[in-house]
C-alpha cells in the first residue's frame, strides 16, 4: 500500500514552474530554491515544530557522501531531495534517504581550488531539470527523474582558478550562476544561461573594462586581475525583474597598492536586470578593500519600516561587520549599523561610504583589525522572519593581524599578497544574533563556543536552527534565543539548514562532514 502511494506521489510530481518557486509560501513543504524563496529569506513557513515540542527532534535517516567537506543546501521537491557535492549530484527518497539516482563528473587531475575548499553548495531546479555548477567551471543540466545529462556549458577555464561552488539560481527561462576565484586574480562575472539549451544569454562582468562605467576606479591593467567573484547565490525580485548578486574582494586581496582606486564593482551588491543582464544600480560596501571582506552574503529582500517609513529594501549583514539596508529599486543607502566588533570604520557618511580609521591597512609587520579576514559573517546564510521582523545572523567575533605581502600574477596560482595571523590566546567566539530588521538593533544573542561556519534557518513555528564549529546542530527560541534542543553530529558544520514536510511531518536537514542528517519528531 505504501509502495503504491509512493509511486503515485512520483507520478503526480508536477513540473517545477517558475510560478511555483515564486509562490514559495504555497510550496506545501517543498524547498524549491537555494534560500527557500527568491527573496533570500531561508525561512520555512512550516509550523509543526515549535519551542514546545522541538526537544523531541531526532534523526530519521542519514545519507553518506563520499567526500568529507559538504556545504550543500538541499532542494526538496514532491518527495525527492536533491543533494550535491563537488562534481556530484544525487536524488534521494525523502522518507528514507535512499538514493534514486546519482551523477558525477570526473574532477580533472590538475584541478586545484585556490583559496577555498572543494565544495558545492547546492543545485537549482526548473521544470524537470536540475542545474549544478562544477569545480571545473561547467554548468550542467540534469534530468530530474534520472540524472541523465541534458546539456553542459563551459562557464570558464578552471586552469586559471575559475570554479563554481555556488548553487545556481533558476528563474523564468534562465539559470543564473556565479563564479569563484577571488584569490586567483580572475575577472569576475555573473552569467545567465538559457534553461532549455544551455546557451549563454548574457554575461555581466563585475570588473569594468577600460572605457566602461567604473573603469575610472582602476588604473593600468589591474582590472584584468581585479577579482570581484560572485561565489554565493543571489536573490531575485520578480516584480522588478531584478537579480541581486553580491561580489567578492578585489585582487590581490591584501595589497591594494597595485590597484589604486575604489576598484568597482568589488565588495558590492549589484542589481541586474534578469532579462538583459544590464546593471540597474550598484552599492559598494567596502571601497578599495584590503581585508578580503567579500560582499557575497545572500541579500534578503524585505519590506520593513525604516525611520518611520514602510519601504521595500535589501537587507544584508556584511562581512565588514555592518548591517545594511538599501532601497530595493534604486540602491539608495538607508542604514548601516554594526552587528559585531569592528575597529576599522568610524561610521558611514550620508551615502554609506565608510569613514575609514587610520592604521587599519595590512602592513608588513601585521595590523590588528576586527573583524578577521573571515569577516563578522561569511558565505553562510542569514534568515528573515517577516512575522517578527527579525533578521538572524551567524556572527564571528574574532580579530586578526593583517599582513601585506608581494604578489606577482601568475595564471592558476594564488594572487593574494599577504594574509592574516591569528591572535595568540584570542578569546574568539561565535554567536547567533537576532536583529530588528528595520534598525539593525540587537534583540538577543546566543553565544557559541567558537566562530561558526554554518548559516541559520528560521521557521514559522518560532524556531531558529544553526550549526557550530564543534558539530552541534541546535534549535533556539526565535523570540528569546534560548536553546531548546541540540544534537552532536560529530563533525564541524559548515552549511545551511533547510526544512520540509513529508506525510504531514516537518523535517529539518543539515550536512556535517560526510553526512547529511534528516531530523523529525
Amino acid at each position: 500500500m505504501r509502495f503504491v502511494t509512493l509511486l503515485l506521489a512520483v507520478a503526480l510530481q508536477a513540473q517545477v514552474t517558475f510560478e511555483r518557486i515564486r509562490d514559495s509560501e504555497q510550496a506545501q513543504g517543498n524547498w524549491l530554491t537555494y534560500s527557500g524563496n527568491y527573496a533570500g529569506h531561508r525561512h520555512s513557513p512550516l509550523k509543526e515544530l515549535t519551542p514546545a515540542n522541538v526537544a523531541s527532534l531526532k534523526p530519521a535517516w542519514i545519507y553518506q557522501f563520499e567526500t568529507g567537506e559538504n556545504e550543500v543546501s538541499p532542494l526538496v521537491v514532491d518527495g525527492v531531495m536533491y543533494v550535491t557535492a563537488p562534481n556530484f549530484a544525487a536524488a534521494l527518497d525523502v522518507r528514507t534517504g535512499r538514493a534514486l539516482w546519482t551523477w558525477n563528473r570526473p574532477v580533472p587531475k590538475d584541478l586545484k581550488t585556490l583559496g577555498f575548499g572543494r565544495v558545492n553548495r547546492g543545485a537549482a531546479i526548473l521544470g524537470d531539470t536540475i542545474f549544478v555548477g562544477t569545480l571545473d567551471a561547467y554548468l550542467v543540466a540534469l534530468d530530474a527523474r534520472s540524472g541523465a545529462v541534458r546539456w553542459q556549458a563551459q562557464v570558464a577555464d578552471y586552469r586559471t582558478g575559475h570554479c563554481i561552488t555556488a548553487a545556481p539560481l533558476a528563474l523564468r527561462d534562465k539559470v543564473i550562476v556565479g563564479i569563484s576565484g577571488g584569490e586567483a586574480g580572475i575577472r569576475g562575472f555573473v552569467d545567465a544561461y538559457d534553461a532549455k539549451t544551455g546557451k549563454r544569454a548574457w554575461r555581466h562582468w563585475t570588473v569594468p573594462a577600460p572605457g566602461e562605467p567604473g573603469s575610472e576606479t582602476w588604473s593600468g591593467d589591474a582590472w584584468k586581475t581585479g577579482g570581484a567573484p560572485t561565489w554565493v547565490t543571489g536573490a531575485y525580485d520578480p516584480e522588478l525583474d531584478l537579480v541581486f548578486w553580491g561580489t567578492g574582494n578585489p585582487g590581490p586581496d591584501w595589497n591594494g597598492d597595485v590597484r589604486p582606486g575604489d576598484n568597482l564593482y568589488s565588495c558590492s551588491l549589484l542589481a541586474i536586470e534578469a532579462a538583459t543582464g544590464k546593471r540597474r544600480w550598484h552599492f559598494q560596501f567596502t571601497p578599495h578593500d584590503t581585508h578580503d571582506w567579500d560582499a557575497v552574503q545572500v541579500p534578503m529582500l524585505i519590506e520593513t519600516t525604516v525611520r518611520g517609513r514602510l519601504r521595500k529594501v535589501v537587507a544584508t549583514p556584511n562581512r565588514n561587520a555592518f548591517y545594511y539596508l538599501l532601497d530595493r529599486a534604486s540602491g539608495e543607502f538607508l542604514l548601516a549599523a554594526p552587528f559585531a566588533k569592528q575597529t576599522w570604520a568610524k561610521g558611514m557618511d550620508a551615502r554609506g561610504r565608510p569613514i575609514v580609521l587610520p592604521d587599519t591597512e595590512p602592513s608588513e609587520g601585521g595590523t590588528l583589525v576586527w573583524p578577521s579576514l573571515q569577516g563578522a559573517t561569511n558565505w553562510f546564510s542569514p534568515s528573515y522572519d517577516a512575522a517578527s521582523n527579525q533578521v538572524f545572523v551567524s556572527v564571528r567575533e574574532m580579530g586578526a593581524y593583517y599582513h601585506k605581502g608581494e604578489a606577482a600574477y601568475k595564471p592558476g596560482t594564488l594572487f593574494t599578497a599577504g594574509g592574516e595571523r591569528a591572535l595568540r590566546g584570542d578569546k574568539a567566539f561565535g554567536a547567533i544574533r537576532a536583529l530588528d530588521a528595520g534598525s539593525g538593533k540587537q534583540k538577543w544573542e546566543f553565544r557559541l563556543h567558537s566562530p561558526p561556519w554554518a548559516g541559520v534557518l528560521s521557521t514559522a513555528g518560532g524556531l531558529v536552527f544553526g550549526g557550530s564549529g564543534e558539530g552541534n546542530f541546535y534549535a533556539l527560541d526565535a523570540m528569546t534565543g534560548k536553546p531548546l534542543w541540540d544534537f552532536q553530529t560529530g563533525n564541524g558544520i559548515a552549511c545551511n539548514p533547510i526544512s520540509y514536510l513529508v506525510d504531514g511531518k516537518q523535517y529539518v536537514a543539515i550536512a556535517a562532514g560526510h553526512v547529511l542528517i534528516a531530523f523529525r519528531r
Binding site: E183, H403, E420, R421, A422, N472, P483
Partner: protein
Amino acid sequence: MLAIALLFLGGAGVSAQTPEDVNQGKKLYLGHCSPCHGQTGTGGRGPNLAQPRLKHGASEEAIADVIKNGIAGTEMPGAWQLSDREAALMAAYVRSLGRVERADLPGDAVAGRRVFERSGCGQCHIVNGEGVAMGPELTEIGVRRNAEYTREAIVHPGAAVPESYLYVEITTAAGRTVSGQRVNEDSFTIQIRDSTGRYHSFRKQEMKEVCKFAGRSAMPSYQGRLGEAELDNLVAYLASLRGEP
C-alpha cells in the same frame, strides 16, 4: 616508482640546506601558504604548522607530498604548479617552524633522569610509555620546547601553561564541585579529566557555574626544591627527550 625516486631526491636535497634555501622556502611559504596557515605558521583557516609532529606530515617527504597533492576532501589545496624542489624547500621550512634543534646545555642528561625519577614527575607525566597522563606527555618535549621554556615550566608552571591545557572548576546545580583539565568542549557540553584521571561530562546550561582559569597550573612549582645543578641536569634530560629511544 618514479614518484618515490623524486621524493627521495627532494628529501636528499633538503638535508644539504643552505641559509639561502631556508630563505627561499620562507618566501615561497609566505606567498602560497600564509593566507591560511598564518605568517608564522601558527594557523588561521588552516591548522598550526609550528609543531614538531604534524598529523599528515611525519617527515619532510610527507609534508612535500601534502604540499603537492593537498589533502583530499579538505580545504588544503594541492599546488601542482610547484616544482619538486620548491615543494621540498617549503617542506623544510614548514618542518623547521615547529622543531627545536639540539643545543649544547650545561647539565648532564643522565643525572637529570635521576632527578626526574626522584622528584615524582612521573606521577603526572608519561615518558616513553611510563608514568601517569595527568599533564602533557614529555616523550618528545625536547623537540617541542626549548630549554628556556622547560626551565620556566618547572620553576614557574603558571607562566608556561600550553594553550590546550585549561583548568576548569564546575559547580553542578546540586552544588557539587568538580575540577580538572578541560579535554573537550562545544557550545553545549564540556568534558574534563580530574586529578585522579577520571572523565566527567557536563551540559553547561544545567550547571550553576563553569569557571575557567586560564594560566592556572595544576603542576607544583619546583622553585627552591631543586638545586641549580639539579635543575640544569633535569633541563638537559628533558632536552634529550626527542621521541627517539
